[in-house]
Every structure is written in C-alpha cells, then in structure tokens.
C-alpha cells in the first residue's frame, strides 16, 4: 500500500507558528513587496461551477495573513527620519482580518454568514464563514477563515473554495485549520529583507557618472536577485541564464526557450537602437516563469509586472509558444530595455510611438537564430479596412495623432504599429533615404521634452497666480482642462517639426508612398 501523502507543514519561525496545508496543495511564491500575506497554497485539483447560463473553474486556495499588533494598533501615518530626509508612510494598516478582507477581496459581493469564538488547543480563535454570492467571478464561493489570537499578533488562515465544492473539501480544510500550533520564534532571515540599495531613487542615480551608475545598478540587480531567490517555494529553481536571473517553476527546456527569445530581443535592441540612451547599462532583470496561467494569476492578481521594478513575469502557456503570454513577455523585455537606457525619454513617448513599439514587439519571434517581425492578422485586416474606407492616416498624421484618438475601434493602433515596423525593421530600415528617420525622431523628441521641461521648471518656482474673480477662475479652469491636451499637441507637432524640418512635400510623398506600399503588400 502506498504511504499516505503527508500534508505540507508550513513553518514560520519569525512569527512563531506552524500549520499544515492540505496534502497535494502547492505552495505559491509571494510577491517581494507583500506586507501582510505570509503563506499561500493552491489545490492542484480543479473545481467546476455550472449555471444554466455560464460556468467557471476554480482551484481552492489557502492564504495565511499576519496582523502584528504593532501595525494594527497604529493610527495615522508613520513618520521616520533618515538622515536629512523624512519618510512618510501614508498607507493605513488594517485593524483586523475583517477590514483586510473587506478592503482587499475582489471575488464578489460577500457577507459573514457565521461567526463564533473557539479554541484550537490553547490558542483562542475566531471562526468565520463568509459567503460570496453577488457578482462573483466563476461562481458563488465560500471563504472559511480562522483567526488565531496570539499575544502580539493575529494570524488569519483563510480557505477559499467554490460554494458547491465546499462539502467535498471541508474535511481537509478543517484538518488543516485544527493543525495550527505555536512554536519558538527565531530571528528573521536577513537575505529576505529588501536590499538597502532598493531605496535608491532614480533622481540620485542621475547625479552619478555613467560608470558610477553602472556599478551601482549592477549591485542593485545582484541584491534584488538574491532577495527574490531567498523566498522561493519548493519546486522552484534560481539561476542566471543568458541575460536574465531566472526563477523557474517550469522545465529547463522551456525556461531556455524563453531566455533565448529574451536575449534575442535585447541583442537586437542593443544593435539597432544603440543610439537610444547610448552607453547606459541595462541591468539583468529577474525573470519569473510560472508553471501555468493559474499560478501566474495568483501572483499579484495576474499583473504583468512583478513586485520589483527589475522583475519580469511570464508563464508556460498550455496553448503553446507564441501566444498571448509571449506577446506580454516580449513587450516586458522591450520596455525594461528602454527604461534602463533612458527612463525619462521612455516615459515621454507619445501614444502612437508607445503603442506602435508594443505592437511591433508583441509579435516578434526567433526564426533561424534571427529576430523576425511579422504582422498580426488583425493588424492586416484593420489596415485594409481603413485603406478601403479612405480613412487611413499618412505617416505625418500618425505621428501627430493625440493619444485619445488612438484606439481599437478606429484601427489607429494598427496604423501606429505598421509605421513603427516600417521604420525600425521594415522597408524603411533598409532604405537609405529613410533609415535614419527613427533615430532623428527620437533625438527630436528628447530635445522637445527637455525644452518643455526647462520652461516648466522655471514656472514651477513662481507662485501660481490665484484668480480673484469668477471670470479669472473660469479662464484658469478652461486652461487647466485643455492644458494637458495642448501640451501633448505641442510635443507631437514640435517633435515632427524638429525631426523633419528640412523636408519638402516631395519627401513626404516619398514616405507616404513607401509606407502605403508596405502595408498593401503585407
């Protein structure tokens, strides 16, 4: 007879407790910036909800949340002095589990169905049953939580299941909850603490020379990798691979595939956009690869960026390679590189450029060791629609389109993508007349942004004129309402004028014809 699978014992020596997770449940990694959750587990078996109209899937989850008395009793902001600077933490701590649940739970409308006080061994506990009934995602749920009251903290152990699966899971849940015990406390693992350099601001880094900055940032990257590796659950590996530090919960060959794709993107950018933030060091990012989409969704609610600004997240998609997860991975790598090379300029990209670059890189793939830049079927259809309807914008119009007008309904995001591809990887990049356009545009953008920034700096020092009459107030209101739009328009128009100031109509005609020829032949 095969031995019974033992439940996984979760031990927390820092807080002084241990509890068994149900057997067969997998431990989940915690986000590095997580303040309250100290443990998470997910059932490996799928539960299903079926309604007359729709259905849903769910994996039961166990979450352990700690409420130290020093945090829950705090009222008001935390003010600390650090040398010359004052740090103000405005985040309001949760007073107790119920407040935490009400403020953080997003699975649907809920209410406490039952509540009683009990004892688990010598430990007093509040036992809660919470029903989730209205506007649920994937069906009605049941949340079963026991809050253990220790002398200087509360520990809440929360189980979430589909309501229709609660009966079959009840025994293992209760067994886990009853296994709670206190243990002797030990000091915290220093490796788990955020690296001191993590608090270094971007503004401080700007004051250093490029070489000093490189040294500092390399140290930050190493410290972050060390910190994120320290808290890995069982089944995960941590190692440098290519230009990434990989935290992996997948097989080695899949991890290698992802890294090769990422390395290829970085190498392409180094070579073909070398003028962008020239000389700046690109830190090695931490690449976290989840075993599937479900595990990925449990980490920070499925956000596509990690808890550290050096973390890129992705997952092994059951639908295969080159799916939506690859799209997101590609753009994460692209944006990491852009921010590392020139953070200010990357943030200042106008909508058409940001949309266009993301659109181009979403679909890139390795082909014969080289990066290929195919277009998407939706893009081809959208462009064809606009051309047929006579609504397709010319390049100059695309480059001066405000962000609010770039959307899915009018295919403008496809036009932006097609134009960027033309410039950086398409016919434009091979055309002697056009191949420096993208570089010139970025240069012009940087100069425009700097110019506006200098003007604003001058104005910020002067106290704003306070309106004295209702008429003056209305005028200021109107100026404010339109101010950002006018600023955006100025950036767009000035950049184009700077980049293409010497161009004549014939030059624009050439570009228009070349661009439209590309999209027609796509």
């Amino acid at each position: 007879m095969a031995p019974a699978v033992r439940a996984f014992a979760h031990e927390d020596k820092r807080l002084g407790f241990k509890i068994d997770a149900p057997s067969g449940w997998n431990e989940l990694p915690l986000a590095p910036d997580e303040k309250w959750i100290v443990g998470r587990f997910k059932c490996s078996k799928l539960d299903i909800y079926v309604d007359r109209e729709w259905g849903g899937e769910h994996y039961a989850e166990m979450t352990i949340i700690a409420f130290p008395a020093e945090e829950t009793s705090r009222k008001g902001p935390k003010v600390t002095k650090d040398g010359d600077s004052i740090k103000i933490d405005l985040s309001s701590p949760y007073k107790n589990y119920k407040e935490y649940f009400n403020k953080t739970y997003t699975g649907g409308g809920h209410f406490v169905d039952a509540e009683k006080e009990a004892k688990v061994g010598p430990v007093a506990a509040t036992q809660l049953s919470i029903k989730v009934e209205k506007l649920t995602s994937n069906g009605p749920r049941r949340v079963t939580t026991w809050v253990y009251h220790l002398p200087d903290l509360d520990i809440a152990v929360q189980f979430e299941t589909l309501e229709n699966a609660f009966e079959k899971r009840e025994n293992e849940i209760l067994s886990a909850l009853k296994s709670f015990k206190t243990i002797a406390k030990a000091a915290a693992n220093p490796a788990e603490k955020a690296p001191a350099d993590a608090a270094v601001s971007y503004e401080d880094l700007k004051k250093l020379t490029p070489e000093e900055r490189k040294v500092r940032r390399q140290a930050m990257a190493d410290a972050t990798a060390k910190q994120l590796s320290a808290k890995l659950p069982n089944g995960w590996s941590a190692q440098p691979m290519g230009r990434f530090f990989v935290l992996s919960h997948v097989d080695q060959s899949y991890a290698q595939k992802v890294v090769e794709q990422g390395d290829a993107i970085l190498a392409w950018l180094d070579k073909n956009l070398e003028y962008f933030g020239k000389g700046e060091f690109v830190r090695r990012p931490v690449l976290r690869i989840f075993k599937d989409q479900e595990e990925f969704r449990s980490y920070r609610g499925g956000l596509w960026w990690g808890g550290s600004n050096l973390e890129i997240v992705t997952y092994k998609d059951n639908d295969g390679w080159l799916t939506w997860s690859t799209d997101q991975f590609n753009t994460s790598v692209l944006n990491h590189w852009l921010r590392e090379r020139d953070y200010d300029l990357a943030l200042a990209f106008p909508s058409w450029l940001r949309t266009g670059l993301d659109g181009v890189f979403e679909k890139v793939k390795l082909k014969g060791g080289q990066l290929d830049f195919p277009s998407d079927p939706w893009e081809r259809v959208g462009l064809a629609e606009n051309v047929r309807a006579g609504k397709a914008l010319k390049p100059r119009e695309i480059m001066t389109t405000p962000g609010a007008q770039i959307g899915w309904a009018n295919n403008r995001q496809h036009e932006a993508t097609a134009l960027v591809r033309y410039f950086i990887a398409g016919a434009g990049s091979r055309d002697t007349k056009m191949k420096t356009i993208f570089k010139n545009y970025l240069s012009a953008l940087k100069a425009t942004v700097l110019e506006i920034s200098k003007e604003s700096a001058g104005k910020e020092d002067a106290a704003p004129k306070k309106p004295k009459t209702e008429e003056e107030e209305e005028a200021a209101f109107k100026a404010r309402a339109s101010g950002w739009k006018e600023k955006e328009k100025r950036v767009l128009d000035s950049t184009v004028k700077r980049a293409f100031g010497s161009w004549k109509d014939a030059d624009w005609d050439y570009l228009d014809n070349a661009y439209f020829s590309t999209i027609k032949n796509n």
């Binding site: 008001g76 809920h110 406490v112 899915w408 404010r480």
Partner: protein, 534 residues
C-alpha cells in the same frame, strides 16, 4: 411620542458611556449609551464636553431610563404627589410600580433595538414582498416603507405610460442601510453607487444615504428604469443611448409619500451642472469623448446630436443624453415622436437588432440607433438634423436653469470638485438663500470660506448647520478648530473634544488628527496634543 417600531441604524456613538438612554432619529440613526433629558418638548443629550439640544422634530422615539420628575399642574396632581404617587403612561401609581413598568418597557425597547441592530447584518436581513417586487433589506423599516411605496408607484405610472405587460417574476431589490454594507455585499465596484443586474437572476442593488435621501431616490428611479424599460419588449435591452439617458430622465422624478403620486420629467440638476462645466471648460471635441465617437464635436463646441445618439458608449449619455431626453419629452411636437423612437427600437421591423447581450437579449448598435432616431423624428437630411440640434442646444443653454436650492447645491459641489472655489462659494450662498437645509451644503460652504480666510463667516455657517443636524460630529470638529484659529481657544478645544467624544470613529476627524500628528512629528515643535489625539 412613542412609536410602534424602532429603527435599525445604529450610529457609532460608542464614546463615553454616560448613560443608558437611547434616541431613535427619523433619519435612521439609533444613538445608544447616552444621558438624555427632556428639555421642554425637545431633548438634551449630555456629553462630558457639553450638552447638545436635539429638536423633537428630529426624534422618532426616545428611551429614557430615568423617569423624568413630574411638575404638578393642579391641586389634584399636587395631592397625588404628596401621597407618594407618580404619573406614568397617563396613570397615577406608586413609584415602585412605575419603576417596575419603566424597567420592563426599557428592557423591551432595548431588546427590539438589539434585534433591529442585528438586522443590519446581511445574514439577518429582512424580507418583504410587494405587488411587483421582492425586497431584501437592512434599512430601518420606516425608511424601507417609503422606498417600497415609491417603487410600486413608479412601476404603476411607468406601466401606464409605456403600456407594459406585468412580468411573471418579481424583481429582487436589495436595499442596504449604508454605503459600506452595499459595497461589501453587492460586489459593486467603488463608484457604482447602485446597479441593476440585467441577466438572471435579475436584481437591483442600492443603498440608503442618510445624508442624501433625495440622492437615494434619484438613484433608485434611475436603476429601476433599466428594469422597467426591459419590460417594454422582454428579450430586448436598450443600448447605452437611449438607455442611460432615459434612466436619467426618469431619475429626476419625485414621489409624494402622502398622495403616492409621482411627477416625471423634472430637472437633473447635477447633470445640468456637469453640462455647464463641459461648456465652460471647452473639453468636448478633439476626440476627448473617446475614440469611438463618430463625428465628435469640435473643441469648444457643444455636444453634437449625431455624436451623442450614434456612439455606442460614452459618459455624456448620462449628462447631455439626459438633456436631449428632457428637451424632446418637454416639447409637445417631439414627445410622441421620441416615444415612438423608444418603442420602435424594440419593435419596428426596420431596426436591425443584431447585438446580443447576456441571456440571449438583443440590442442595437449605435449606428442603428441613429437611423431609427432620424426616422422617428422625421430628420430627412443634414439640414433637419442641424435644426433640431440647434433647438436642443438652445434648450440646454437658455430654457433650463438651476433655480432650486438642491440644484444650486449640486452646481456648487460640481464647481468645488472641479477646482473653482469662487464659483462654488457663490452657488452655495445662493443655495442657502434659496432655502437649503442640508447640513452638508453648509459644511462644504464653511470649509470654502475658511480657505478664503473668512473665518468669522465660516463659524456662522457651521453654527447654522448644527441647527439642522446637531448630532454630526465633524461639524463640531471643524467649528471648534476654526474658533481656535480665530482666537477662541477654550471654546474651540471644547468643541473639538466634544466631536471626538460623539464619534470616536469619524474618518474625517481621524484624517485631521493624522495630519496634525504628521506636522508635529516632522517639525518636532508643538508638543501639545490636539483634542481627541491619542
């Protein structure tokens, strides 16, 4: 005095437990652990930091544990008192008998209060069925009754106007006693102050705002309209326009509880204020209404008719869309045509209902709405469209004006929230002159006066606010703070301490205390505690 029922809303008046008395207010609050005395016809609540007079008009019921001393009115009463008798419940009796009766009554009332307090928990919610609705609620029964009658009256009148068939199933209406319980239990996203679920199980979720009962009404009228409109042709759901615009039109209805009569087509003054703000800011145009806007207005212009009607979804359906409905329904020439447009969307054969929503409901695209609109309104060409648009714009800019106290208050709030304090101050002043009795309006106005360094005027306004709501802690806080700033430190501090005593959990006071603590810590100068600071 005396009531057959008690209210279920228990205020967080859990401060200094000075007494065992309770006050039950008409606005839904139950205040417990008080020390209360009769003050003529009114009541006086005693706190450690001062007494507060509560007008009898605010009170539904009072539970005073200590029997009030009786002043003899005539010789007969004087003789009875001399014999050691006391008057209670209209009878003279020995004091022991009175005490025993009083204790029993108090115990009964307190038990009722506890029961009703427990009904604030959703698991213990109350249930009730009317002719057309199934209710689940945690609001106080007397509050509930008004809104139940309102919904029934609304159903009846709307049915008559639009010739509805009575549905087989009743709509479930979930009515919460406060905002927090609503957001927790209904699952609504923050900012969605109510919702109608249009797929099975059909449901309407809304909360009672004690500080804005009229707002609760308009919200209920709006959300219920989505349900009622769906009954015009079951299986067809109205798209965003005219759905939301019509809901806003009916949202401005009013209900007379005494006569049970409804009046439709009043002004949505809050929306009018937003339209006026749009015009003042010139924000329309340049695709600001979103990339889905067809034929968007040019910058500085008013909302275009075609853009409004043909766009699938835009926020302006709530504001400009409401004004279009109001214009068309107020004009004898257009009202029947507009009604024909509404009904036609659901029934006419020419309309392509090729949009599918949940539960296999059909709907129409914006483009199709525009075609039907032009057909129904007889707009044969661009000239006709332009002419109607011009009339509508004239209606918005000239025919409808905010004149009511509430309308002026809403316009003031809009100006305040959009960073126009001078305009806001003027409008609040006008609202007060027009008869506004909402303590919130006075409070907001007083805060603006403080920002303009007009402390004396602000103090006067807060004192006026307290006449309408003497039991709102934050009013005392701000009044006290301002008095202290103006030099009356003793009285100011007393009032601030009173505020904290009245409501130790008030988040606005918490925030002010947090700021004080923050400033003190960062400057490390003032060591004196702010009243209420721990």
């Amino acid at each position: 005095m005396g009531c057959s029922f008690l209210l279920a809303w228990v205020a967080a008046f859990a401060g200094a437990s000075l007494g065992d008395d309770c006050l039950i207010l008409k606005d839904g609050r139950i205040l417990t652990q008080l020390a209360v005395e009769k003050d003529g016809a009114d009541y006086r609540v005693r706190f450690q930091n001062g007494d507060i007079k509560v007008p009898a008009a605010m009170v539904l019921d009072a539970v005073l544990v200590a029997a009030a001393p009786v002043e003899p009115k005539n010789d007969e009463e004087r003789k009875a008192l001399e014999k050691g008798l006391v008057k209670f419940d209209g009878r003279w009796m020995p004091s022991k008998e009175r005490d025993s009766l009083l204790q029993r009554k108090v115990a009964e009332k307190k038990k009722q209060i506890e029961q009703l307090k427990s009904h604030q928990l959703w698991r213990n919610r109350l249930r009730s069925t009317s002719a057309h609705f199934d209710f689940e609620y945690t609001v106080p029964p007397h509050v509930f009754q008004r809104y139940r009658d309102l919904l029934e009256g609304y159903f009846t009148e709307f049915s008559k106007q639009w010739k509805l068939n009575v549905p087989k199933e009743k709509l479930k209406v979930c009515f919460y006693h406060d905002e927090e319980t609503y957001y927790e239990t209904s699952g609504a996203q923050r900012g969605a102050i109510a919702y109608y679920r249009f797929v099975r199980p059909l449901e309407l979720n809304v909360y009672y705002d004690r500080l804005d009962a009229r707002g609760t009404e308009t919200t209920l009228f709006h959300e219920a309209n989505h349900y009622l409109s769906a009954l015009i042709n079951p299986g067809f759901l109205y798209p965003h326009f005219p759905g939301e615009s019509l809901a806003e039109y009916y949202g401005a209805s009013s209900f007379d509880a005494a006569t049970k009569k409804l009046e439709f087509g009043l002004l949505q003054e809050g929306r009018l204020a937003e339209i006026q703000s749009d015009i003042a800011s010139g924000r329309l145009g340049d695709g600001d209404s979103g990339p889905t806007t067809a034929g968007a207005s040019k910058p500085g212009e008013l909302m275009g008719l075609e853009a409004l009607v043909s766009t699938d979804r835009m926020y302006e359906h709530y504001t400009w869309g409401w004004s279009l409905c109001h214009f068309l329904m107020s004009d004898k020439r257009y009202k029947p045509k507009f009604q024909a447009f509404i009904v036609g969307l659901a029934f006419d054969r020419e309309v392509k209902r090729d949009v599918t929503l949940g539960d296999n409901n059909r709907s129409v695209s914006g483009g199709e709405v525009w075609l039907q609109f032009k057909r129904s309104l007889g707009l044969k060409d661009a000239k006709a469209v332009a002419a109607l648009e011009k009339e509508w714009h004239a209606h918005v800019q000239k025919s409808i004006q905010t004149t009511s106290a509430r309308g002026l208050q809403l316009a003031a709030e809009s100006a305040d929230h959009s960073g126009r304090p001078i305009r806001a101050r003027r409008l609040y002043k006008e609202a007060i002159e027009a008869g506004c009795r909402d303590a919130n309006a006075y409070h907001a106005y007083a805060r603006l006066l403080v920002r303009d360094d007009r402390l004396g005027e602000a103090i006067t306004i807060w004192k006026q606010a307290l006449e309408f709501d003497p039991l709102q802690a934050r009013l005392y806080w701000h009044l006290g703070r301002t008095m202290a700033k103006k030099g009356d430190g003793t009285e100011g501090k007393r009032l601030m301490a009173l505020a904290r005593e009245m409501d130790p959990e008030d988040p606005e006071i918490d925030f002010e205390l947090d700021l004080d603590a923050l400033i003190k810590k960062s400057t490390s100068s003032d060591t004196e505690k702010t009243p209420g600071e721990k």
